[in-house]
Amino acid sequence: MVALAQRDETARIWRVLEQVPDPEIPVVSVVDLGIVREVTPERVLITPTYTGCPATEAIARDIRFALDAAGCRQVRIESRLSPPWTTDWISEEGRDKLRAYGIAPPSRRPPECPQCGSPDVEEVSRFGSTPCKAQWRCRACLEPFDLFKCH
């Protein structure tokens, strides 16, 4: 029974976390981005994305608010660097949400325009509006777009 209750509580915490948006790309949740590493009824283990990402503290705060609001005040939040976060941990669902939002998801293959799907794209700048993105441009539909950098 205890194990069952533990499992239910863990699942409930996961559901709470799935509702916590990333502060800079609010269409994806912290779970979609692979920021949440491990959940137990006692502890949520998170990992920073980029070393200098200013959203890291906001993310911990938002998770705290969400857990508190869901009555999980006793759940600790711990941050761990190792092994380092990689864009490979972004879920398929997260990738679809990024694309729908107009951000090309990270990919080991050449990117495609998230607007029109054309592969005829070029890099404008290696850094975009946040450390995790680069600026690209589509030569087919001429629209600029953000590319979530492979990391």
């Binding site: 200098g52 705060r61 600790r76 711990e78 190792s82 700048s125 290696r126 850094f127 450390p131 600026q135």
Partner: protein
Amino acid sequence: MASLPPIDLPAGATGEGAFDAPGADDPHRSVRFDYLLRLGDDALILGQRLSEWCGHAPSVEVDLSLANIGLDLIGQATHFLGRAGAVEGEGRDGDALAFRRDVLDFRNCLLVEQPNGDFARTMARQFLFSTWQELLFEHLTASADAAIAAVAAKAVKEVAYHRELASEWVIRLGDGTDDSRRRMIDGLDWTWRFVPELFEMDAIAARAAECGIGADVANFRGDYDRRVRAVLAEATLEPPPGQRPILGGRRGHHSEHLGHLLAAMQFLPRTYPDATW
């Protein structure tokens, strides 16, 4: 930071999870602290220098690039100096080490404190530093200090990006117009004499390497020279002729420029020690 609600932690936990600071019986405490200061100060000072470009870069894309590289470096500094404070165990945190130390107590290399100069000189400095830092971090992923190893493993991917960006600018400016070429040559001339310090193995560096906390920089000197020369060749530039190396940053013997940088960086927290966001 003060505007954030406190995060509940059990008594004694640091929130860092895996890396609790070594206790008072750590036989390497002193060298661990010194080595962390070097790593943290390099990142902090170059991060601060790059932030000076914010709003002044030649184009908005470059402005974003420099600010983002600066942000990565300040993130590294936060980890290294926070860890240094924990290792020291005298109640100083990363902020105290960044904002309440005087110029003679900084342990960064002289390269990172050099003034930005024009954009070419900034890129020459970034190229020489990031090429070195990437190799250093590759080696530090095997550090006997779990925190150093974790930060290095995380940051090395970002630093590779810094190195690529800077290399591209060295090539573009070096193999560009007469004016851009002249400026890149001047930028390399200015920064070149600070490279030998990156490979200096003084007593602290040697002890850190010996106990596995630090890296022996001699192990990647050859790789460094090859990588730098390959980019210079692509930029159609010759390595600057032999210059007298300038050393001393690791011992706190800094150029006059560092004091001015610290004056800007430390003014607010020193003048208003209780200020919060």
